[in-house]
Subunit: 341 residues, 4 copies
Amino acid sequence: MRVSIVGASGYVGGEIMRLLLGHPRVDVAQVTSERHAGKFVWQLHPNLRKRSSLRFSPVADLDPCDILFLAMPHGKGLESEIDFGAVAPVIIDLSADYRLKDAAAYPKWYGVTHPRPDLLREYVYGLPELHRDRIRNSNRVSGAGCIATAAILGLMPLYRAGLARDDMVVIEGKSGSSAAGRDPFPASHHPERSGVIRPHEPAGHRHTAEIAQELGVGRVYLTTTSVNVVRGVLATSHVFLKAAVTEKDVWSVYREAYSAEPFVRIVKDRRGSYRYPDPRILWGSNYCDVGFELDGDSNHLVVMSAVDNLMKGAAGNAVQAMNVMSGFDETMGLEFAGLHP
Amino acid sequence: MRVSIVGASGYVGGEIMRLLLGHPRVDVAQVTSERHAGKFVWQLHPNLRKRSSLRFSPVADLDPCDILFLAMPHGKGLESEIDFGAVAPVIIDLSADYRLKDAAAYPKWYGVTHPRPDLLREYVYGLPELHRDRIRNSNRVSGAGCIATAAILGLMPLYRAGLARDDMVVIEGKSGSSAAGRDPFPASHHPERSGVIRPHEPAGHRHTAEIAQELGVGRVYLTTTSVNVVRGVLATSHVFLKAAVTEKDVWSVYREAYSAEPFVRIVKDRRGSYRYPDPRILWGSNYCDVGFELDGDSNHLVVMSAVDNLMKGAAGNAVQAMNVMSGFDETMGLEFAGLHP
Amino acid sequence: MRVSIVGASGYVGGEIMRLLLGHPRVDVAQVTSERHAGKFVWQLHPNLRKRSSLRFSPVADLDPCDILFLAMPHGKGLESEIDFGAVAPVIIDLSADYRLKDAAAYPKWYGVTHPRPDLLREYVYGLPELHRDRIRNSNRVSGAGCIATAAILGLMPLYRAGLARDDMVVIEGKSGSSAAGRDPFPASHHPERSGVIRPHEPAGHRHTAEIAQELGVGRVYLTTTSVNVVRGVLATSHVFLKAAVTEKDVWSVYREAYSAEPFVRIVKDRRGSYRYPDPRILWGSNYCDVGFELDGDSNHLVVMSAVDNLMKGAAGNAVQAMNVMSGFDETMGLEFAGLHP
Amino acid sequence: MRVSIVGASGYVGGEIMRLLLGHPRVDVAQVTSERHAGKFVWQLHPNLRKRSSLRFSPVADLDPCDILFLAMPHGKGLESEIDFGAVAPVIIDLSADYRLKDAAAYPKWYGVTHPRPDLLREYVYGLPELHRDRIRNSNRVSGAGCIATAAILGLMPLYRAGLARDDMVVIEGKSGSSAAGRDPFPASHHPERSGVIRPHEPAGHRHTAEIAQELGVGRVYLTTTSVNVVRGVLATSHVFLKAAVTEKDVWSVYREAYSAEPFVRIVKDRRGSYRYPDPRILWGSNYCDVGFELDGDSNHLVVMSAVDNLMKGAAGNAVQAMNVMSGFDETMGLEFAGLHP
């Protein structure tokens, strides 16, 4: 299967390339970058040295292929003069351009009027754990935000089971520096960014909208904090329950939701340094680890969920979606277990 | 003034010693450690090399002095055979032994029955920003927890002004590795601790009780997360307001509370890498930086507050309290501005 | 092929397990740990959660298998009551017990008299790039030290080509915290180990002996420094040349040595953040990256070589050696490219 | 005493400002920045919030003052239209513009012909430990390079005592990210810079020339490596001795050189995590820690020396020189002990 990647010089595009170069059923046909056209891919992604002799192409040189990944900044794909649908029958778009189903939400959260509201319903929100059948039967899939992915996978079982109050949820997302992309800016300069515990978006983070949409919650209070790692997202969520539940109740909700999922692990042990989810051991893996703790004397549950923002939070999840759409084993090309230590 | 420190081999004790060695009105008389008695202090605190030729003494060798700092693990001071009150007329105890005023809270939060409930009322909860007059007139001061300090200083103005609902507050504390003290344990081993975003106490953290006590809030939902730094606490708090307020209202509450405080800074700029509080620039300083952001369309306010857990969160605050009790300038010995970058 | 691992609770043993669980021609039969016998492997290696339901066995329960990896501390294998040769016909020992060929070197470098000097010649020093044919034809292979691996692979081409003076070489090895193994100690406590640039062994490092042995150099001046990462070794070597050479000469020596090697990359670009070897992008990969720079007006060459100490510096190299011994493709199970960023 | 700082928006300028704001004998008169003229200093140096209400001035607005610190990039001061000598009778220039005494060295090491070779002899190389009397009697002092400072202070006693061979020394400098200054560049982007052990200048580093000049050594082989910290330099030097010496001989050389120095500590213990110099505990302090280890069976000595590159390696040393020139206590304003942990 011939697959091309548009916007392959960025971190997400580079990870898609790395995963597809190791995917037994895929040939990476073309990878595009306007700014870096002509360069070898390893000049931008040094881990691919001796792995690929591909060079970046300008997007205008795209040849027809079977699947197209779009890994451009938000809005760029919609502005493009290229008709991507004419390039490939199947498109997986990792930008936020098709994540929200209500066109009216784009001015509020992204500051733009969506130019093609008709397309919003064509794209499936790309989390297989939520929408596997729709993804399988679609040829348009949208990526999900990295913090949104962690939060939604952590919370969805509680909402589907009807345990959680749907008027309000409080989520604190902590994330590493790679989430801000490849281009340097003053706050990303190592002497300024190293060692921080830095409020990022105390209110109004764009992923708020995705989370509210997918969970069906009235108010999502999402704050985000930047911490001193390159990869990783941990979402800590405060859920207010409709009624008191036992730990066993919660266990059974999560087990039912996730025991058959290849990429979700329930992490809740009595002891051990890793008894709760910690993105530290997820770098490069496609897992979402989910754990919880009940606050004994109240109807309050803390849910913790962790992903590698570039993997399950972006590139890995996109390849998983591609596997679902293509009828491949869902874990194909995504076997890396993550490193310890 | 002659001052001694009990439990001076730990991180908090070491910081008290460092501060007092540079304090113009204090002579450090004795520093105790049972395990390290006889060693030079710089063998445990290498930054004090060439700064002090003191050696650790066993606590039994304590001579009378003017002020005694107790920097022992929780409970150790209460078990001690030494009558510290006979050693010094003024005691500043940095453990949790006297933080809670309700003896009945100790079994719940610390798993012990308090052996001397009669003493709980003698000790003032040692945040000068809350209880300056009582501290000035007392000879018994208790330290405050590091996360509690950040959270309380961030939130107190809102509660005093009557803006915040007092039934519930949600707080997420993020902290560095020095908060767990000097003794190594498996989860503190660098290969395991470096790079984490690790849930620490999702529910039931002991500082919950202090925060509820000082703010007078019914439910404090406190979660804590360990992040990849040595020093620093950031508390991110979700406050639910009694009624809608404007940003200007909140500004005036904080300005009134803190414009005269030497160690609290309101940090809320329109731009810049440090437009919100970030403990990154507080290492070694005694500041508590406080900022906030209003969530536009709801009665919801996010408050961020940052301290160096060993300074304003422990040793620095204790020296500040000593200055208050002794009639010294409150900033004496605490002038270090913090480093950038 | 059935393979067992002795000493599988440590970092190196865990990495061998991770690699073999993904190796298409290997079944992991047993993994041993005395201290943790009975526990699931993911309790010690959290990245293997949902990957393996193996439990640790005591070494006494070892069943016969095809290949045995020994990943014990130095000396432990020699003291063992188990006859490992009776368990498996092929042994790969990652300790230092068989690295030195001269029994007289053990008292000097390891402080012990070697109990079985007769075995030293049976073991091949396990770097395939040096001794591929001997490894292929042997059933006893010794691992190499992680700093030694980087240094030797960086320097060997120069010595084989006769360019380097063989009386002296100066090497500075910088390494991460995982090199010291799994057990916590005071200097590995995160508050003490984070942020260091700490002299480790200014003189007398044990890998000195391996490097001198393999390169045939009279004096190896090896210093080591601990830096603020978990994984990674960079060896910076100062080579004094017999005569002036051009950059082109050096290029051709390295190209001849390594162009056909699957796991050695020559990294020397004119520009770019990764124009020299940097272990930052090698975490989890089996590459050794090698680069150099000629000091214009003298017969002096600086060679830089980087590995992940747990991969090419230990577990990955051992699996590569297993592939060579077993007639498998040399890269089997070692395909992970490493992560960027 | 009125002191102004030219180029105060950079990291070194900011540190000079921080130190002088706390100096009891100095008033900071003006601080200049062309790019940031009009901004408050805390907008660039967030640690100075609530410490100073100064704003940056353009250099053209400089008023006469008693001492002028120049903290501009190399070459900028020489190009300036301002006659700094007319602004202040005393100038301390932290750039490299006056470090080398031989004008012919500038084309080689800095790629420029020095426009004012006549001034080179007016400036004293500003390390008080080397040139205290000349600094005291001069009104022009040049700063020293940060790696050069560590290396020279580590090695000078051996050269002065005649122990070291003066034909060659091998030095490896490891440094943090703040050494590259305030402006972001691709390799300083946190996702790229975090976690590295990255060769910086394998040959031809500019500090080579300073070291050779001050030590009088024929060949200085200096390599530099960037490591994962913000502050700190460790220089590891291989010294070849003229004849065999004992450890006691070396001790006495260092003791004689440094026992009376306020900012040099000999760090060489038998045990302990900090038994050798480690810049980890020097952040913010003006110390240079020096240690050594003799390689038993050869005439080879390893010297380790550590500084905070922004303090003893730049701003702190400059303030120390100012104190010397002004007849103040040499430690005035430089009392901060550094932090542990």
